[in-house]
Symmetry: none
Subunit: 180 residues, 4 copies
Amino acid sequence: MSSALELFAERGYDATTIPMIASKAGVGAGTIYRYFENKEVLGNKIFQGYVDIFTATIKNGFPHEDSIRNQFHHIFKSMVHFTVKQDQALYFIKIHSGAHFLHEESHISFQGLLNIFKNFFDSGKERKEIKELPSSALIAIIYGAFLELQRLVRIGELVPEAKLLEDVEESFWDAVRLHI
Amino acid sequence: MSSALELFAERGYDATTIPMIASKAGVGAGTIYRYFENKEVLGNKIFQGYVDIFTATIKNGFPHEDSIRNQFHHIFKSMVHFTVKQDQALYFIKIHSGAHFLHEESHISFQGLLNIFKNFFDSGKERKEIKELPSSALIAIIYGAFLELQRLVRIGELVPEAKLLEDVEESFWDAVRLHI
Amino acid sequence: MSSALELFAERGYDATTIPMIASKAGVGAGTIYRYFENKEVLGNKIFQGYVDIFTATIKNGFPHEDSIRNQFHHIFKSMVHFTVKQDQALYFIKIHSGAHFLHEESHISFQGLLNIFKNFFDSGKERKEIKELPSSALIAIIYGAFLELQRLVRIGELVPEAKLLEDVEESFWDAVRLHI
Amino acid sequence: MSSALELFAERGYDATTIPMIASKAGVGAGTIYRYFENKEVLGNKIFQGYVDIFTATIKNGFPHEDSIRNQFHHIFKSMVHFTVKQDQALYFIKIHSGAHFLHEESHISFQGLLNIFKNFFDSGKERKEIKELPSSALIAIIYGAFLELQRLVRIGELVPEAKLLEDVEESFWDAVRLHI
DNA sequence: TATGAATGAGGGTTCATTCAT
DNA sequence: GATGAATGAACCCTCATTCAT
């Protein structure tokens, strides 16, 4: 799975062949079919797997009782944390989140991820601390911006130092918070 | 080209076949090869074509002498304008901007687009009106957020009404402006 | 036809396209189909046409009453003559004389050509001036040797000067004549 | 390879399709690509392979110390020997020796074959036993005549009995030897 | 259980042929 | 009559998938 992830992230699902994956994993091509029905299933397993890890990372230790700002900080920190550990995974998710090979189940997993954000923004709006934009829009802003930034980190155009992360978090927070 | 654009945007370059494009365009598969040397050239022509239109849209009437805020407004308005006219195009550009089939020329066109943003942010930082983040990061935030929002519009989850656009612009501006 | 001949000789029948021929002839591709039903017919027309000219060249002024040696001289001279005028044609005939696209009629034309040689050799054998080999073998020797020589001339490895031609004729005659 | 050889010899390289070869060989079309990078490589492998075998056949047991006449006999015998074993191969070589798909390496192999003949004729001319024709011409005569004869054997018009071979060898020798 | 040779459907592409102009 | 854009069958080739070992 990690061989497949790397290749899918590097070359895209369609441009990656099963023999490539097998060779990178050091197994025979046929062996892959003992563990995954076919390439599509493999792609979905990886997609769901990492989306779920991402989701779990954010859920883990979420400060439900804390302030909105601190909840936001937790989310941001979790995203960075996941990204650092799984930069291939996030890039893979980004470029394949609308891919033709994804099953309904994968889309649902993805929605689950987005829902965490949704819940957060909904409660933030209730408390008049978050802008009165549709939550889906707020998610799109944070998620889209974050993934694009991550792309820059990936290609080496940006180095994720503490100061930068702090500034980016500030920018994100400014984007969504309600300015009085 | 518009048939190809639609399919490339929907399914991605690799998952789109020439017969699919031909069929959607209502022509024979061979006909495509009278106008484009091969699939790769077709992909690049479309990519460059729309990137250039996007670039031109932003450059057109850019208020160089106006305030940073008004320049930002022009950029945002231009992005919306282009998106409304060419919703497929922007999504196509997004998911293929690092694709393996792109020629050097296409990358340069894309860089040209990003440079407009860069120049804007650089001058904004000089005037102390924009956050002290690397311009590439600021671009990523705006560009990433915008494209993700546009995806929602595309799939019908968001309706781009005047009020929404206004709020989104405000959010974007908050994200990049220097809060005193 | 001459454009087609040149291309067929240079690249072979299969590697020559109708648009190539049209372009070389300075006409539209469709125009060719006003004069030849299809590519196959064109190929056959050319093959037959030149085989017939070759045949006529040899028949023309054949010294039926003269000595075998002089008849041989006439044949050799005619072959050279035809070759000089139509070097493409002979090469085309050589490399396509067993080609898949030839119709029965073309094969018959070709047989007609070989028959002239056959008659000559048969009468020579009767007069005990030609070796007692099957006429088909004698033809093969002269015809095969001549065409291979012609190939060398074509590619510039041999210059067909008078002395060379004389020597080659001598060699050919030695090959077939009965040495007492 | 033998299926390909047969088809290439019968129909020519260009008119032979990979599916034809696969079907004749009783394998799937894709299987061929496990053993040969592409059709061109297959064609060259076959060409070189047989040219090399032909070359080896002549070199094998060549009587360097013997008389020119006996050396000639060895060459002729070798040609016949090779032809009997590989009748398709020689015809394939003949009709493709100038073909567009041949790599430089194949041309060199072919030149190597012709060089054996060249060396033989050169030494024969030195000893005043061979006609004073360019060696390339002498080769063309023997090679061309032989291949044309072989064609007749292939199509059944000539039966290669001992007597015939003896007579043909005599004819060939007469063609090239210096008549005092 | 693991393998990788074999398969053949399907992709990109070419080109003989047609036909509206 | 001449044209050349359009066509689609058929080519070469790739690769997901199978299955005998």
